[in-house]
Symmetry: C2
Subunit: 334 residues, 2 copies
């Protein structure tokens, strides 16, 4: 399967980005392709070993193992740059229909969770139970792999809120918002890592509504759409990391009409914000929604943006009321 941008399609029926049908054939008789073929086999063989040993590493660790094990009779430049081994891992993920996490390759992790659920983490030959309502100020750190040797049980919460910024997560956590509202509070700490996206997908599969709460700017919107439709980079594992059911709770430019004080707390949109908003107006999966067209056009026209932190203006706990109100009135963007 070709993973280039030209082969990415928006799956309208299911609402996520996926690979198209363009295929690429590699033959052993073509010299350039035979080298790549050999490299792919080397990567597969290392991953097979990691799985057999039951040990994990990263794509960087894999790269060093490949570099190390090249015999003296082989061109040393075969894996001279990690950029040469990375695409091969994606090749394997597509060809074998697995995620790199299933090949014992950890991706960067980021993201924290609190709420009424438990983790059963099979780790070091023990089953460790972690109660996500007993993690205090810290929360439970979301790992890279949330599929293998880990289970999510006793999910008693009614919905999931994904909060862009750790600062706001800490604010809501301190107010025990997840306890009072019986919900699960997640922050991806910015753009969501693979593990966090996958966990959100799994919680949606468990029947929980997913609400996303970000800044009203280019970066915040990007975080939302990545969670919802997946990203172009990860379109090759489309369904397993996208959550089309996700809804956008705010902050929105239309909040400026709801809460007068926010008009005093806007900040100037940057050129990047404006350029990105214009781009997003061109994406089929965004422009189909009138509400999103209005949001994007309002920013472009006013050249202003709004941060979720601004909801702390009147008092620190205002953000709790804001979320409650939005959920009660079902005021979400699609």
């Amino acid at each position: 399967m070709v993973r280039s941008r030209t082969n990415i399609q928006y799956n309208k029926k299911d609402g996520y980005l996926k690979l198209g049908n363009a295929k690429e054939e590699r033959t052993f008789l073509n010299i350039a392709q035979s080298k790549r073929f050999m490299q792919t086999i080397a990567v597969a063989s290392k991953c097979h070993k990691f799985v057999k040993e039951n040990l994990h590493t990263t794509i960087r660790g894999l790269y060093y193992q490949l570099k190390f094990s090249i015999g003296d009779d082989v061109d040393e430049n075969v894996f001279n740059e990690q950029s040469e081994s990375n695409p091969l891992i994606e090749d394997l993920e597509v060809a074998l229909e697995v995620k790199r996490e299933d090949l014992n390759l950890n991706a960067n992790r980021k993201g924290v969770l609190a709420g009424n659920m438990k983790i059963i983490d099979t780790f070091g030959n023990e089953k460790i139970e972690i109660d996500c309502s007993r993690q205090g100020r810290s929360g439970w750190a979301i790992p890279s792999d949330v599929d293998n040797d880990i289970k999510f049980v006793d999910i008693k919460a009614k919905y999931v809120l994904v909060v862009e910024k750790d600062a706001l997560w800490q604010r809501l956590n301190e107010d025990l918002f997840w306890k009072k509202e019986n919900m699960i509070l997640i922050t991806p700490q910015g753009q969501a890592a693979r593990g966090t996206r996958r966990l959100i997908r799994k919680l949606a599969d468990a029947g929980l509504p997913i609400y996303v709460f970000t800044d009203s700017d280019a970066w915040g919107w990007y975080i939302y759409w990545t969670i919802k439709t997946g990203s172009i980079n990860l379109a090759y594992i489309g369904t397993s990391v996208a959550t089309p059911e996700a809804r956008f709770i705010g902050v929105t430019m239309s909040d400026l009409d709801r809460y007068d004080f926010l008009n005093k707390l806007t900040i100037n949109a940057s050129d990047v914000d404006l350029k990105r908003a214009q781009e997003m107006l061109g994406y089929e999966w965004i422009k189909q929604h009138k509400e999103w067209r209005e949001e994007l056009e309002r920013m472009i026209k006013s050249r202003k943006k709004l941060e979720q932190d601004a909801l702390q203006g009147p008092r620190l706990t205002f953000v709790d009321d804001y979320i409650r109100e939005k959920i009660k009135k079902k005021e979400f963007l699609p």
Copy 2:
């Protein structure tokens, strides 16, 4: 106290960066200073409120509260940019001899810990006990404030290892290295946040030796020296975040002589690495050590650097043996 770079001194006796004695006086009769005086009072008054309410926010949340509460008769530009309120917080930290965390202002947090110790986190009117040896693949996420309403008990470990990269932390955590060696395994996940630096200081105060394990490059060295001597930015809270007792365990350029295979796994030093190495050769607190001069000069001469990930070359668990060996033979840089 003046916090500009010209007033930063290296405290040779104790081994950390601190503020000098240069002072700045603000008088109410000078118009520009009277504005700043008023702003400082506004910041102090907000922080006082946060502490009284027992609620936390960030400097961004504080900024929005200040912006919100400006009356119509006051120039709106008083706090138009967060860059205007940030230095005032530092003023308060210095003048009151407290940390911003004591004023209920959370800083960015980052960093994870596993090992034989427990946390008593007073959170939501409960004392929550967290066992850092029962956090599975995730580890305990180090919070912004490790001083107020939180205690570290049952510290049974023999030493602390601070590992630059989360990837390597996960590798060692999976091997239960902290259990086998009875130690505490921390990753700052790159440059250490205030909370992580402060926690390292506290563990040193509890009598544990602190070893730091980073890449052998500009960024890795910077991470080490920041943990050890503090940073220029935070010199105003010098002693409370610096750990002069810390020792550098590796990876070192001299490891290339110890482990032959590593010579195959070096990568090219970047211009930034080389420039920074040259700068570090000029710092009084670094150039005084012959071992560090040799490290820096070796990189500059060879134009090569070495990553901690490279230790996974021969096998994934080699990194465990590397650390054990260094500690057994006491092979540290000062």
